[in-house]
Amino acid sequence: MSRATFYPHPAVRATIATVVGAFVLLPLAATVEFTLRDGDTGHSFVHWAAIFDPTKAEAYKPIWVGLTNSLTLMVVTVAVVLFLLAPTMILVNLKFPKLRRLFEFVALLPVSLPAIVLVVGLTPIYLVIGRTLGTGAWTLAFAYGITVLPFAYRSIQASIDAVNLVTLAEAARSLGASWLTVIRRVLAPNLRGGLMAASLIAVAVVLGEFTIASLLNRQNLQTALMLVNRQDAYVSVVFSLMALLFCFVLLLLIGRTGSIGARGKDR
Protein backbone atom coordinates (compact mmCIF):
# COMPACT_ATOMS: atom_id res chain seq x y z
CA MET A 1 0.00 0.00 0.00
CA SER A 2 1.02 3.57 -0.63
CA ARG A 3 0.62 4.53 3.00
CA ALA A 4 3.65 2.45 3.91
CA THR A 5 5.86 4.69 1.74
CA PHE A 6 5.62 7.65 4.04
CA TYR A 7 4.37 6.42 7.37
CA PRO A 8 7.27 5.93 9.79
CA HIS A 9 8.76 2.51 10.47
CA PRO A 10 7.67 1.19 13.92
CA ALA A 11 11.29 1.20 15.10
CA VAL A 12 11.70 4.87 14.07
CA ARG A 13 8.43 5.72 15.80
CA ALA A 14 9.57 3.98 18.98
CA THR A 15 12.99 5.69 18.94
CA ILE A 16 11.51 9.18 18.58
CA ALA A 17 8.89 8.47 21.24
CA THR A 18 11.56 7.22 23.65
CA VAL A 19 14.03 10.09 23.18
CA VAL A 20 11.50 12.96 23.28
CA GLY A 21 9.38 11.17 25.87
CA ALA A 22 12.43 10.86 28.14
CA PHE A 23 13.23 14.56 27.73
CA VAL A 24 9.67 15.50 28.67
CA LEU A 25 9.01 12.94 31.43
CA LEU A 26 12.42 12.65 33.21
CA PRO A 27 12.40 16.24 34.56
CA LEU A 28 8.80 15.74 35.73
CA ALA A 29 9.67 12.45 37.43
CA ALA A 30 12.72 14.01 39.10
CA THR A 31 10.54 16.92 40.22
CA VAL A 32 7.94 14.60 41.75
CA GLU A 33 10.77 12.79 43.58
CA PHE A 34 11.98 16.17 44.87
CA THR A 35 8.58 17.01 46.39
CA LEU A 36 8.37 13.59 48.09
CA ARG A 37 11.66 13.99 49.97
CA ASP A 38 11.53 13.67 53.71
CA GLY A 39 14.75 14.43 55.55
CA ASP A 40 18.02 13.35 53.94
CA THR A 41 17.09 9.99 52.51
CA GLY A 42 13.45 9.20 53.26
CA HIS A 43 10.38 9.80 51.13
CA SER A 44 6.88 10.77 52.21
CA PHE A 45 4.02 13.10 51.40
CA VAL A 46 5.05 15.55 54.12
CA HIS A 47 5.54 18.48 51.69
CA TRP A 48 2.18 17.85 50.04
CA ALA A 49 0.44 17.60 53.41
CA ALA A 50 2.18 20.80 54.56
CA ILE A 51 -0.09 22.83 52.28
CA PHE A 52 -2.91 22.34 54.77
CA ASP A 53 -0.73 22.42 57.89
CA PRO A 54 -2.12 25.16 60.19
CA THR A 55 1.35 25.91 61.63
CA LYS A 56 2.58 26.85 58.15
CA ALA A 57 -0.57 28.71 57.18
CA GLU A 58 1.08 32.07 57.87
CA ALA A 59 4.06 31.31 55.62
CA TYR A 60 1.84 30.05 52.79
CA LYS A 61 -0.70 32.85 53.09
CA PRO A 62 0.63 34.74 50.01
CA ILE A 63 -0.13 31.66 47.89
CA TRP A 64 -3.78 31.60 48.92
CA VAL A 65 -4.07 35.35 48.38
CA GLY A 66 -2.40 34.99 44.98
CA LEU A 67 -4.61 32.02 44.06
CA THR A 68 -7.74 33.98 44.99
CA ASN A 69 -6.55 36.92 42.88
CA SER A 70 -5.78 34.60 39.97
CA LEU A 71 -9.25 33.05 40.21
CA THR A 72 -10.83 36.53 40.14
CA LEU A 73 -8.64 37.42 37.16
CA MET A 74 -9.77 34.27 35.35
CA VAL A 75 -13.43 35.17 35.81
CA VAL A 76 -12.97 38.77 34.60
CA THR A 77 -10.74 37.71 31.67
CA VAL A 78 -13.24 35.07 30.57
CA ALA A 79 -15.95 37.74 30.85
CA VAL A 80 -13.89 40.01 28.56
CA VAL A 81 -13.63 37.14 26.05
CA LEU A 82 -17.30 36.12 26.20
CA PHE A 83 -19.02 39.49 26.53
CA LEU A 84 -16.68 41.83 24.67
CA LEU A 85 -14.66 39.84 22.12
CA ALA A 86 -17.25 37.25 21.06
CA PRO A 87 -20.17 39.67 20.41
CA THR A 88 -17.85 41.97 18.46
CA MET A 89 -16.64 39.04 16.35
CA ILE A 90 -20.26 38.05 15.63
CA LEU A 91 -21.08 41.63 14.70
CA VAL A 92 -18.07 41.93 12.39
CA ASN A 93 -18.85 38.63 10.67
CA LEU A 94 -22.53 39.51 10.22
CA LYS A 95 -22.49 43.18 9.40
CA PHE A 96 -18.95 44.26 8.49
CA PRO A 97 -17.36 41.47 6.45
CA LYS A 98 -14.98 44.06 4.99
CA LEU A 99 -13.51 44.60 8.45
CA ARG A 100 -12.66 40.92 8.91
CA ARG A 101 -9.06 41.20 7.70
CA LEU A 102 -8.36 44.28 9.83
CA PHE A 103 -9.96 42.58 12.82
CA GLU A 104 -7.82 39.49 12.31
CA PHE A 105 -4.69 41.63 12.08
CA VAL A 106 -5.50 43.41 15.34
CA ALA A 107 -6.49 40.19 17.12
CA LEU A 108 -3.25 38.42 16.16
CA LEU A 109 -1.04 41.46 16.88
CA PRO A 110 -0.31 40.51 20.52
CA VAL A 111 1.50 37.39 19.26
CA SER A 112 4.32 39.63 18.05
CA LEU A 113 4.22 41.83 21.14
CA PRO A 114 6.32 40.37 23.99
CA ALA A 115 4.67 40.71 27.41
CA ILE A 116 7.73 42.54 28.69
CA VAL A 117 7.29 45.18 25.94
CA LEU A 118 3.58 45.45 26.74
CA VAL A 119 4.56 46.13 30.36
CA VAL A 120 6.69 49.12 29.34
CA GLY A 121 3.63 50.66 27.65
CA LEU A 122 1.14 49.51 30.29
CA THR A 123 3.03 51.07 33.21
CA PRO A 124 1.79 54.64 32.59
CA ILE A 125 -1.72 53.37 31.77
CA TYR A 126 -1.96 51.42 35.01
CA LEU A 127 -0.81 54.50 36.91
CA VAL A 128 -4.02 56.16 35.68
CA ILE A 129 -6.09 53.03 36.36
CA GLY A 130 -4.66 52.85 39.87
CA ARG A 131 -5.93 56.36 40.53
CA THR A 132 -9.41 55.81 39.04
CA LEU A 133 -10.30 52.13 39.52
CA GLY A 134 -7.90 51.37 42.37
CA THR A 135 -4.99 48.95 42.52
CA GLY A 136 -7.10 45.80 42.89
CA ALA A 137 -5.65 42.72 41.22
CA TRP A 138 -8.76 42.31 39.05
CA THR A 139 -7.79 45.38 36.93
CA LEU A 140 -5.00 43.26 35.41
CA ALA A 141 -7.70 41.31 33.57
CA PHE A 142 -7.85 44.10 30.95
CA ALA A 143 -4.20 43.47 30.11
CA TYR A 144 -4.73 39.69 30.22
CA GLY A 145 -7.62 40.03 27.78
CA ILE A 146 -5.06 41.37 25.31
CA THR A 147 -2.54 38.54 25.90
CA VAL A 148 -5.36 35.99 25.50
CA LEU A 149 -6.79 37.73 22.41
CA PRO A 150 -4.96 35.76 19.65
CA PHE A 151 -5.79 32.35 21.16
CA ALA A 152 -9.40 33.27 21.91
CA TYR A 153 -9.83 34.81 18.45
CA ARG A 154 -8.54 31.66 16.72
CA SER A 155 -10.86 29.28 18.58
CA ILE A 156 -13.95 31.45 18.17
CA GLN A 157 -13.23 32.20 14.50
CA ALA A 158 -12.80 28.47 13.79
CA SER A 159 -16.29 27.92 15.19
CA ILE A 160 -17.71 30.85 13.23
CA ASP A 161 -16.20 29.50 9.99
CA ALA A 162 -17.75 26.08 10.65
CA VAL A 163 -21.34 27.37 10.82
CA ASN A 164 -23.22 29.64 8.48
CA LEU A 165 -23.62 32.61 10.75
CA VAL A 166 -25.49 34.86 8.31
CA THR A 167 -28.12 32.25 7.42
CA LEU A 168 -28.69 31.33 11.06
CA ALA A 169 -29.10 34.96 12.07
CA GLU A 170 -31.42 35.76 9.16
CA ALA A 171 -33.56 32.69 9.81
CA ALA A 172 -33.93 33.59 13.46
CA ARG A 173 -34.65 37.23 12.62
CA SER A 174 -37.29 36.29 10.04
CA LEU A 175 -39.00 34.17 12.71
CA GLY A 176 -39.21 37.30 14.81
CA ALA A 177 -36.33 36.92 17.24
CA SER A 178 -34.77 40.07 18.66
CA TRP A 179 -31.02 40.50 18.22
CA LEU A 180 -30.44 39.60 21.87
CA THR A 181 -32.40 36.37 21.40
CA VAL A 182 -30.53 35.63 18.18
CA ILE A 183 -27.17 35.88 19.95
CA ARG A 184 -28.25 34.14 23.14
CA ARG A 185 -30.48 31.36 21.83
CA VAL A 186 -29.23 30.74 18.27
CA LEU A 187 -25.63 31.88 17.72
CA ALA A 188 -24.06 31.19 21.13
CA PRO A 189 -25.20 27.54 21.24
CA ASN A 190 -23.84 27.01 17.74
CA LEU A 191 -20.49 28.55 18.69
CA ARG A 192 -20.36 26.74 22.04
CA GLY A 193 -17.27 24.72 21.13
CA GLY A 194 -15.22 27.76 20.21
CA LEU A 195 -16.43 29.83 23.15
CA MET A 196 -15.63 26.95 25.50
CA ALA A 197 -12.13 26.50 24.07
CA ALA A 198 -11.47 30.26 24.20
CA SER A 199 -12.53 30.39 27.86
CA LEU A 200 -10.42 27.39 28.86
CA ILE A 201 -7.35 28.83 27.11
CA ALA A 202 -7.96 32.14 28.89
CA VAL A 203 -8.04 30.27 32.22
CA ALA A 204 -4.77 28.46 31.42
CA VAL A 205 -2.98 31.64 30.32
CA VAL A 206 -4.13 33.67 33.33
CA LEU A 207 -3.11 30.88 35.71
CA GLY A 208 0.48 30.95 34.39
CA GLU A 209 0.93 34.69 33.92
CA PHE A 210 3.87 36.24 35.77
CA THR A 211 5.50 39.00 33.69
CA ILE A 212 2.79 41.65 33.78
CA ALA A 213 1.69 41.02 37.38
CA SER A 214 5.23 41.04 38.68
CA LEU A 215 6.37 44.24 36.96
CA LEU A 216 3.14 46.13 37.71
CA ASN A 217 3.46 45.09 41.38
CA ARG A 218 0.22 43.12 41.56
CA GLN A 219 -0.11 39.77 43.39
CA ASN A 220 -1.25 36.68 41.54
CA LEU A 221 -0.49 32.98 41.94
CA GLN A 222 2.84 33.17 40.11
CA THR A 223 4.25 36.17 41.96
CA ALA A 224 3.17 34.49 45.22
CA LEU A 225 4.99 31.26 44.29
CA MET A 226 8.09 33.30 43.50
CA LEU A 227 7.84 35.00 46.90
CA VAL A 228 7.26 31.82 48.92
CA ASN A 229 9.94 29.95 46.97
CA ARG A 230 12.61 31.99 48.76
CA GLN A 231 11.77 30.39 52.11
CA ASP A 232 10.30 27.05 51.05
CA ALA A 233 11.38 25.54 47.74
CA TYR A 234 9.08 22.53 48.12
CA VAL A 235 5.68 24.18 48.27
CA SER A 236 6.20 26.23 45.09
CA VAL A 237 7.19 23.05 43.23
CA VAL A 238 4.13 21.22 44.61
CA PHE A 239 1.88 24.03 43.38
CA SER A 240 3.65 24.10 39.99
CA LEU A 241 2.98 20.38 39.52
CA MET A 242 -0.67 20.82 40.50
CA ALA A 243 -1.09 23.74 38.09
CA LEU A 244 0.48 21.66 35.33
CA LEU A 245 -1.88 18.77 36.01
CA PHE A 246 -4.86 21.14 36.14
CA CYS A 247 -3.98 22.65 32.74
CA PHE A 248 -3.42 19.17 31.28
CA VAL A 249 -6.93 18.10 32.31
CA LEU A 250 -8.27 21.41 30.98
CA LEU A 251 -6.62 20.83 27.58
CA LEU A 252 -7.88 17.24 27.48
CA LEU A 253 -11.36 18.75 27.96
CA ILE A 254 -10.77 21.15 25.06
CA GLY A 255 -9.66 18.20 22.94
CA ARG A 256 -12.90 16.42 23.83
CA THR A 257 -15.09 19.37 22.88
CA GLY A 258 -13.11 19.07 19.65
CA SER A 259 -13.07 22.68 18.62
CA ILE A 260 -9.50 23.88 18.77
CA GLY A 261 -8.13 25.12 15.47
CA ALA A 262 -9.03 23.22 12.34
CA ARG A 263 -10.73 20.33 14.05
CA GLY A 264 -13.88 22.40 14.37
CA LYS A 265 -14.15 22.32 10.60
CA ASP A 266 -14.09 18.53 10.32
CA ARG A 267 -17.42 17.23 9.21
Binding site: F6, A115, G121, F142, S240, L252, G255
Partner: protein, 305 residues
Protein backbone atom coordinates in the same frame (compact mmCIF):
# COMPACT_ATOMS: atom_id res chain seq x y z
CA UNK B 1 -45.81 43.26 16.71
CA UNK B 2 -42.05 42.74 16.63
CA UNK B 3 -42.59 39.68 14.50
CA UNK B 4 -44.43 41.66 11.94
CA UNK B 5 -42.02 44.56 11.80
CA UNK B 6 -39.07 42.18 11.56
CA UNK B 7 -40.69 40.44 8.61
CA UNK B 8 -41.51 43.75 7.08
CA UNK B 9 -37.86 44.72 7.47
CA UNK B 10 -36.82 41.60 5.65
CA UNK B 11 -39.28 42.24 2.85
CA UNK B 12 -38.22 45.82 2.30
CA UNK B 13 -34.62 44.69 2.36
CA UNK B 14 -35.12 41.96 -0.22
CA UNK B 15 -37.38 44.03 -2.45
CA UNK B 16 -35.55 47.32 -2.40
CA UNK B 17 -32.20 46.31 -0.98
CA UNK B 18 -30.59 49.65 -1.66
CA UNK B 19 -33.43 51.89 -0.56
CA UNK B 20 -31.55 54.42 1.54
CA UNK B 21 -33.96 54.92 4.41
CA UNK B 22 -33.70 51.65 6.41
CA UNK B 23 -29.93 51.54 5.84
CA UNK B 24 -29.41 55.00 7.15
CA UNK B 25 -31.50 54.13 10.18
CA UNK B 26 -29.78 50.89 11.05
CA UNK B 27 -26.11 51.31 10.27
CA UNK B 28 -25.18 53.77 13.02
CA UNK B 29 -26.56 51.37 15.67
CA UNK B 30 -24.48 48.52 14.28
CA UNK B 31 -21.45 50.79 14.19
CA UNK B 32 -22.02 51.69 17.84
CA UNK B 33 -21.67 47.98 18.61
CA UNK B 34 -18.04 48.13 17.51
CA UNK B 35 -17.21 50.97 19.89
CA UNK B 36 -16.65 49.06 23.19
CA UNK B 37 -14.19 46.60 21.68
CA UNK B 38 -12.46 49.28 19.62
CA UNK B 39 -12.07 51.41 22.72
CA UNK B 40 -10.71 48.46 24.68
CA UNK B 41 -8.15 47.62 21.99
CA UNK B 42 -7.06 51.25 21.67
CA UNK B 43 -6.49 51.67 25.42
CA UNK B 44 -4.88 48.32 26.20
CA UNK B 45 -3.15 47.33 22.95
CA UNK B 46 -2.55 50.29 20.62
CA UNK B 47 -1.74 52.88 23.29
CA UNK B 48 0.73 50.64 25.19
CA UNK B 49 2.48 49.75 21.94
CA UNK B 50 2.79 53.39 20.95
CA UNK B 51 3.94 54.34 24.45
CA UNK B 52 6.49 51.51 24.50
CA UNK B 53 7.92 52.65 21.19
CA UNK B 54 7.98 56.38 21.89
CA UNK B 55 8.97 56.66 25.57
CA UNK B 56 12.50 55.88 24.42
CA UNK B 57 12.45 59.14 22.45
CA UNK B 58 11.99 61.33 25.55
CA UNK B 59 14.08 61.99 28.62
CA UNK B 60 12.67 62.33 32.12
CA UNK B 61 11.86 66.02 31.65
CA UNK B 62 9.88 65.22 28.50
CA UNK B 63 12.35 66.65 26.04
CA UNK B 64 12.95 64.91 22.74
CA UNK B 65 16.24 63.01 22.81
CA UNK B 66 18.08 60.39 20.78
CA UNK B 67 20.19 59.53 23.81
CA UNK B 68 18.39 56.28 24.61
CA UNK B 69 18.60 55.03 21.06
CA UNK B 70 22.34 55.65 20.88
CA UNK B 71 22.43 53.46 24.02
CA UNK B 72 21.25 50.57 21.81
CA UNK B 73 24.76 50.70 20.31
CA UNK B 74 26.41 50.31 23.71
CA UNK B 75 28.53 47.12 23.89
CA UNK B 76 26.62 45.89 26.98
CA UNK B 77 23.25 46.26 25.21
CA UNK B 78 24.57 44.80 21.97
CA UNK B 79 25.79 41.77 23.88
CA UNK B 80 22.38 41.15 25.47
CA UNK B 81 20.73 41.42 22.03
CA UNK B 82 23.30 38.95 20.70
CA UNK B 83 22.68 36.59 23.65
CA UNK B 84 18.91 36.75 23.10
CA UNK B 85 19.40 36.10 19.39
CA UNK B 86 21.62 33.03 19.63
CA UNK B 87 19.62 31.57 22.52
CA UNK B 88 16.41 31.96 20.49
CA UNK B 89 17.99 30.65 17.26
CA UNK B 90 19.52 27.64 19.00
CA UNK B 91 16.38 26.62 20.93
CA UNK B 92 14.22 27.29 17.85
CA UNK B 93 16.45 25.11 15.63
CA UNK B 94 16.67 22.18 18.06
CA UNK B 95 13.02 22.56 19.01
CA UNK B 96 11.94 22.64 15.37
CA UNK B 97 13.86 19.48 14.45
CA UNK B 98 12.75 17.55 17.56
CA UNK B 99 9.15 18.76 17.25
CA UNK B 100 9.02 17.84 13.55
CA UNK B 101 10.35 14.37 14.47
CA UNK B 102 7.46 13.97 16.94
CA UNK B 103 4.96 15.03 14.24
CA UNK B 104 6.53 12.49 11.90
CA UNK B 105 6.28 9.74 14.53
CA UNK B 106 2.58 10.58 14.94
CA UNK B 107 1.86 10.14 11.20
CA UNK B 108 -0.68 7.45 10.57
CA UNK B 109 -2.10 7.42 14.10
CA UNK B 110 -5.80 8.30 13.75
CA UNK B 111 -7.02 11.55 15.35
CA UNK B 112 -9.38 9.74 17.74
CA UNK B 113 -6.64 7.46 19.09
CA UNK B 114 -5.91 8.02 22.83
CA UNK B 115 -2.18 8.46 22.10
CA UNK B 116 -3.08 11.30 19.77
CA UNK B 117 -5.36 13.17 22.17
CA UNK B 118 -2.87 12.71 25.03
CA UNK B 119 0.03 14.06 22.97
CA UNK B 120 -2.15 16.95 21.75
CA UNK B 121 -3.18 17.92 25.27
CA UNK B 122 0.36 17.48 26.64
CA UNK B 123 1.83 19.60 23.85
CA UNK B 124 -0.83 22.25 24.44
CA UNK B 125 -0.03 22.41 28.16
CA UNK B 126 3.76 22.35 27.85
CA UNK B 127 3.81 24.96 25.06
CA UNK B 128 2.07 27.32 27.52
CA UNK B 129 4.11 26.08 30.49
CA UNK B 130 6.71 28.81 30.36
CA UNK B 131 7.22 31.03 33.25
CA UNK B 132 8.17 30.74 36.84
CA UNK B 133 6.80 27.24 37.34
CA UNK B 134 9.02 25.88 34.57
CA UNK B 135 12.05 27.35 36.34
CA UNK B 136 11.00 25.69 39.62
CA UNK B 137 10.58 22.34 37.90
CA UNK B 138 14.05 22.53 36.34
CA UNK B 139 15.70 23.61 39.59
CA UNK B 140 14.01 20.67 41.34
CA UNK B 141 14.85 18.27 38.52
CA UNK B 142 18.39 19.35 37.59
CA UNK B 143 19.61 21.57 40.42
CA UNK B 144 22.58 20.64 42.57
CA UNK B 145 20.51 18.48 44.94
CA UNK B 146 18.36 16.77 42.34
CA UNK B 147 18.10 13.04 41.88
CA UNK B 148 19.38 13.35 38.28
CA UNK B 149 22.61 14.99 39.43
CA UNK B 150 23.01 12.37 42.15
CA UNK B 151 22.56 9.50 39.72
CA UNK B 152 24.99 11.04 37.24
CA UNK B 153 27.60 11.76 39.90
CA UNK B 154 27.41 8.13 41.09
CA UNK B 155 28.31 7.28 37.50
CA UNK B 156 31.29 9.62 37.73
CA UNK B 157 29.78 12.54 35.82
CA UNK B 158 29.74 15.86 37.67
CA UNK B 159 27.29 18.20 35.93
CA UNK B 160 28.35 21.15 38.07
CA UNK B 161 32.10 20.62 37.87
CA UNK B 162 32.90 23.75 35.89
CA UNK B 163 30.16 26.23 36.71
CA UNK B 164 26.76 26.86 38.20
CA UNK B 165 25.40 26.73 34.63
CA UNK B 166 21.71 26.21 35.43
CA UNK B 167 21.49 29.72 36.87
CA UNK B 168 23.41 31.32 34.01
CA UNK B 169 22.72 31.80 30.33
CA UNK B 170 23.34 28.15 29.22
CA UNK B 171 20.88 27.05 31.91
CA UNK B 172 18.06 28.56 29.86
CA UNK B 173 18.57 26.22 26.90
CA UNK B 174 16.94 23.08 28.35
CA UNK B 175 13.95 24.86 29.97
CA UNK B 176 13.33 26.78 26.73
CA UNK B 177 13.42 23.54 24.73
CA UNK B 178 10.80 22.24 27.15
CA UNK B 179 8.26 24.67 25.68
CA UNK B 180 9.75 24.98 22.17
CA UNK B 181 9.38 21.29 21.20
CA UNK B 182 5.65 21.16 22.16
CA UNK B 183 5.01 24.44 20.34
CA UNK B 184 6.59 22.95 17.21
CA UNK B 185 4.37 19.86 17.54
CA UNK B 186 1.28 22.11 17.67
CA UNK B 187 2.22 24.39 14.78
CA UNK B 188 3.84 21.86 12.43
CA UNK B 189 1.44 18.89 12.80
CA UNK B 190 -1.26 20.35 10.48
CA UNK B 191 1.30 20.78 7.69
CA UNK B 192 2.52 17.19 7.95
CA UNK B 193 -1.04 15.88 8.05
CA UNK B 194 -1.86 17.74 4.84
CA UNK B 195 0.42 15.41 2.89
CA UNK B 196 -1.95 13.44 0.70
CA UNK B 197 -1.67 9.67 0.23
CA UNK B 198 -2.39 10.32 -3.46
CA UNK B 199 0.99 12.04 -3.77
CA UNK B 200 2.68 8.89 -2.51
CA UNK B 201 0.61 6.85 -4.96
CA UNK B 202 1.54 9.17 -7.81
CA UNK B 203 5.17 8.88 -6.76
CA UNK B 204 4.95 5.07 -6.90
CA UNK B 205 3.16 5.07 -10.25
CA UNK B 206 5.87 7.24 -11.71
CA UNK B 207 8.50 4.77 -10.53
CA UNK B 208 9.66 6.61 -7.43
CA UNK B 209 10.54 5.16 -4.06
CA UNK B 210 10.49 6.26 -0.40
CA UNK B 211 13.61 8.42 -0.94
CA UNK B 212 12.26 10.25 -4.01
CA UNK B 213 8.94 10.80 -2.23
CA UNK B 214 10.61 12.69 0.63
CA UNK B 215 13.35 14.33 -1.42
CA UNK B 216 11.26 15.48 -4.40
CA UNK B 217 7.71 15.85 -3.03
CA UNK B 218 7.21 15.99 0.74
CA UNK B 219 10.23 18.05 1.81
CA UNK B 220 9.73 20.81 -0.81
CA UNK B 221 6.05 21.01 0.16
CA UNK B 222 6.87 21.08 3.88
CA UNK B 223 9.84 23.46 3.71
CA UNK B 224 7.82 26.72 3.93
CA UNK B 225 5.77 25.42 6.88
CA UNK B 226 8.94 24.31 8.62
CA UNK B 227 10.57 27.69 8.09
CA UNK B 228 7.45 29.51 9.31
CA UNK B 229 7.29 27.33 12.43
CA UNK B 230 11.00 27.97 13.08
CA UNK B 231 10.37 31.73 12.98
CA UNK B 232 7.43 31.37 15.36
CA UNK B 233 9.64 29.42 17.77
CA UNK B 234 12.34 32.06 17.47
CA UNK B 235 9.85 34.82 18.30
CA UNK B 236 8.52 32.70 21.17
CA UNK B 237 11.83 32.35 22.99
CA UNK B 238 12.97 35.86 22.04
CA UNK B 239 10.01 37.30 23.97
CA UNK B 240 10.11 34.84 26.90
CA UNK B 241 10.75 36.55 30.22
CA UNK B 242 9.43 34.75 33.30
CA UNK B 243 11.59 31.60 33.15
CA UNK B 244 14.74 33.67 32.85
CA UNK B 245 13.56 36.03 35.59
CA UNK B 246 13.18 33.10 37.98
CA UNK B 247 16.32 31.18 36.93
CA UNK B 248 18.98 33.79 36.25
CA UNK B 249 19.42 35.25 39.69
CA UNK B 250 22.24 37.60 38.80
CA UNK B 251 22.90 39.85 35.85
CA UNK B 252 20.78 40.67 32.85
CA UNK B 253 22.07 38.40 30.12
CA UNK B 254 19.11 38.67 27.74
CA UNK B 255 17.05 41.66 26.53
CA UNK B 256 13.88 41.03 28.61
CA UNK B 257 16.00 40.92 31.78
CA UNK B 258 17.74 44.12 30.69
CA UNK B 259 14.30 45.75 30.37
CA UNK B 260 13.44 44.57 33.88
CA UNK B 261 16.65 46.16 35.17
CA UNK B 262 15.81 49.38 33.34
CA UNK B 263 12.25 49.38 34.72
CA UNK B 264 13.10 48.61 38.32
CA UNK B 265 16.20 50.75 38.71
CA UNK B 266 16.78 53.85 36.69
CA UNK B 267 20.52 53.69 36.67
CA UNK B 268 21.26 51.21 33.90
CA UNK B 269 24.07 52.81 31.93
CA UNK B 270 23.02 56.02 33.69
CA UNK B 271 20.14 56.62 31.29
CA UNK B 272 16.47 57.35 31.79
CA UNK B 273 13.71 55.74 29.74
CA UNK B 274 16.17 53.15 28.49
CA UNK B 275 13.40 50.54 28.88
CA UNK B 276 11.55 52.30 26.05
CA UNK B 277 14.55 52.12 23.74
CA UNK B 278 15.08 48.43 24.57
CA UNK B 279 11.38 47.74 23.99
CA UNK B 280 11.69 49.48 20.64
CA UNK B 281 14.64 47.23 19.77
CA UNK B 282 12.63 44.13 20.67
CA UNK B 283 9.62 45.29 18.66
CA UNK B 284 11.89 45.91 15.66
CA UNK B 285 13.30 42.38 15.81
CA UNK B 286 9.84 40.88 16.38
CA UNK B 287 8.38 42.90 13.49
CA UNK B 288 11.00 41.57 11.07
CA UNK B 289 10.58 37.98 12.28
CA UNK B 290 6.78 38.03 12.26
CA UNK B 291 6.59 39.72 8.84
CA UNK B 292 8.78 36.98 7.37
CA UNK B 293 6.56 34.48 9.20
CA UNK B 294 3.40 35.90 7.64
CA UNK B 295 4.95 35.93 4.15
CA UNK B 296 6.22 32.35 4.37
CA UNK B 297 3.00 31.15 5.98
CA UNK B 298 1.03 32.52 3.02
CA UNK B 299 3.31 30.54 0.71
CA UNK B 300 2.89 27.42 2.87
CA UNK B 301 -0.89 27.53 2.85
CA UNK B 302 -0.94 27.02 -0.89
CA UNK B 303 -0.66 23.27 -0.26
CA UNK B 304 -3.42 23.09 2.30
CA UNK B 305 -6.90 22.85 0.90
Amino acid sequence: MTTFSARLDLVTESVGGDSPRPRARRLPVAHLGLVPFAGYVVIFLVLPTVLAVFTGLFDKAGHLTMDNFTALGDPVILETFWNSTWLSALTAAVGAVAGAAVCYALLGIPAQHPIRSTVDALAGVLAQFGGVMLAFVFIAAMGRNSVLVEVLSSLGIDLYASSNWLYELPGLILPYLYFQIPLMVITFAPALEAIKPQWAEANLTLGGNRWTFWRRIALPVLAPSFAASFLLLFANSFSAYATAAALASQGSQIVPLQIRAALTSETVLGRENLAGALAFGMIAVMAVVMTCYALIQRRAERWRA
